[in-house]
């Protein structure tokens, strides 16, 4: 254990430089951010992840945001357990009929100003599950969406780009 730690202390950090922010993400977000929101948010964003019906592929990649390579927290972004502490809802999956109410209640519990980031192909329009008897549709069929991050599932890098764009717009 201690040898392991000593080796870690002596070697360089595994965290990689952040990916460039995409202009399209910034454009999508810019219209939603007001001066008031900027003042309230300060330097960081707190994220609440909600699975509204995904296959759990997106969850695996969201988890990967916290690994040593991506190290999400160095950007002032971190995940929280309660929607009451969240600025951002990171929502995955097609919204299922059985999750609709839970998603609406989570959204209502999140204080303003808040942003909703829909993740993955399913988050846009239901993806491969569109038309399923248990599927309502994409995230915006239930709550308003500010940014959509495409992919099936989106890579952690792509997720990071979207979240950094959000941070950039909020800070600007």
């Amino acid at each position: 254990m201690f040898r392991f730690l000593a080796r870690a202390v002596l070697s360089r950090s595994l965290a990689e430089p952040p990916p460039p922010v995409l202009e399209e993400d910034v454009q999508a977000l810019a219209r939603r951010v007001t001066e008031v929101a900027r003042d309230r948010l300060g330097r960081g964003l707190t994220i609440r992840a909600v699975d509204a019906g995904s296959c759990n592929g997106c969850e695996l990649e969201i988890h990967a945001l916290n690994n040593v390579y991506n190290d999400l927290e160095r950007f002032g972004l971190h995940f929280t357990a309660s929607p009451r502490h969240a600025d951002v809802l990171l929502v995955t999956g097609p919204v299922t009929v059985n999750m609709r109410e839970a998603l609406e209640r989570t959204w209502t519990a999140t204080p303003d100003p808040k942003w909703v980031v829909a993740v993955g192909a399913c988050g846009l329009d239901g993806g491969v599950f569109r038309g399923g008897t248990g599927v309502v549709g994409g995230i915006d069929a239930v709550i308003p969406v500010d940014l959509h991050i495409p992919g099936c599932p989106p890579s952690p890098t792509r997720l990071l780009q979207g979240l950094l764009a959000l941070l950039e717009v909020v800070k600007a």
């Binding site: 254990m1 730690l5 019906g53 759990n56 969850e59 695996l60 988890h63 390579y69």
Partner: protein
Amino acid sequence: MPDQPSRLIAFLARHGRCQPQHRPWPRYQLEREDWVLLGHSLASNADWLLIGLWAEGGPPVARVHMALFDEEGGLPAIASLECPESSFPSVGWARPGAIRLERTIRDLHGLTPLDPVDDRPWLIHDPALPYRFLPVEGYNLHHIPVGPVHAGIIEPGHFRFTCAGETVVRLEERLGYVHKGIEQLLCGASLEQAARIVGRVSGDSAVAYALAFARAVEAATQTEAPPRAHHIRALMAELERIANHLGDIGAICNDAAFAFMHARCGELREDVLRTAEACFGHRLMMDCVVPGGVAADITEDKAARVSALVAKLHLQTKRLAKVYDQEASLQDRTVGTGALSSRLAHRFAAGGFIGRASSRTFDARVQPGYAPYDQMEFGVPMLTEGDVNARVLLRFHEIESSLSLIERLIASLPAGPVLCPLTATGAPTGAPTGNEEREGVALVEGFRGDVLVWLRLAADGKTVRRCHPRDPSWFQWPLLEAAINGNIVPDFPLCNKSFNCSYAGHDL
């Protein structure tokens, strides 16, 4: 076919009519009284395991199928029953693993199990009817309802704990929150569409599901994938197993506040996913296994990249296993926690690391077995304690075993094509004659346990009439309720992570 039919198959052959269009296991059509007799035989034959129960159609033309496996040997088999009266005799009393499956059949197909153990709905949540949780009585008990939206980045489900102080006296699960209607979407889908959907039943088992689907299609169309494809499929399946086990070990330790392991396992897991992307074009290897073979070949430099990864993982996981073994404070949380008896694991036919940590040696790669594993020697680790510690240790052992398999798979990679066309529908050898529907089934060992895919193809061999993917979690979720009993609430995350059942795979 096996050398001699097992007692199970002999029983089904005596009481039912064999359906020749079904491959590779036999399927027997039973009459109603024989189905009832089968239920009683299950009660008296503990080694006849129920590994699937599903229905097709809806009233008035409907059918239920039961997949069974005789532990003494031989192929699994399927028993079927026509349900013209929209009902079927329940077998939940003999095989408790069937109870939730029967509730699902009633929800999705409108077929009523007769004399069921539990008559509540399961996957379909009706907002107008409040769910009836099981009644609890006792002095000073309190409820802790959790979910469907959980605190972490995990899937939704509802857990209702009844506690006496810190001790859990009962956990009741309520699932179905991510029910999407996958089986209905698969009815009438083309093979390409269906492969994409089945590959996403549970994202963490994308390779296992795609493989089970591909093998079932190949069985139905009597196609044999090229040898090189079998090797590449196994390579992907083992990488998936390693990636998930690493993620699980890290997450279990993190729930005991040992973040060090989480960070290190996260690094290794990311290494596996990046190698997968470099070699196969997708981090989770989705859509890489297709009916007839694999979507892309692996070049020599890519194989070298996998070998380099294996070398790193060999060294690092050995070191991590040592760290895990030496931390008394960590062991204090995992040893003896969430113990699952081998009797229950066996009764529910729980597969994967959950079964193998509780003395059940079952591994679909060995029995019924499939290519290329049938040509390879490999150990299936087994432990007897059944606690969280055993499930962690078992994952370390399985990583080691998978790494050794990958090394040998790369070393013995056969030359040749990686994809072959599915056999044309015109008169395959033996029955059927070519105009009939074809049925196929496959059992594949995913990281979590045995994934079953059963399907019926239209006569053209290109359209799915009915497809049923059965996740190993069906027989593991109920055991979590048993394993947590008598443990304290703060140990639930450890138990839950060490089980790591799939919500998406179960809810369909």
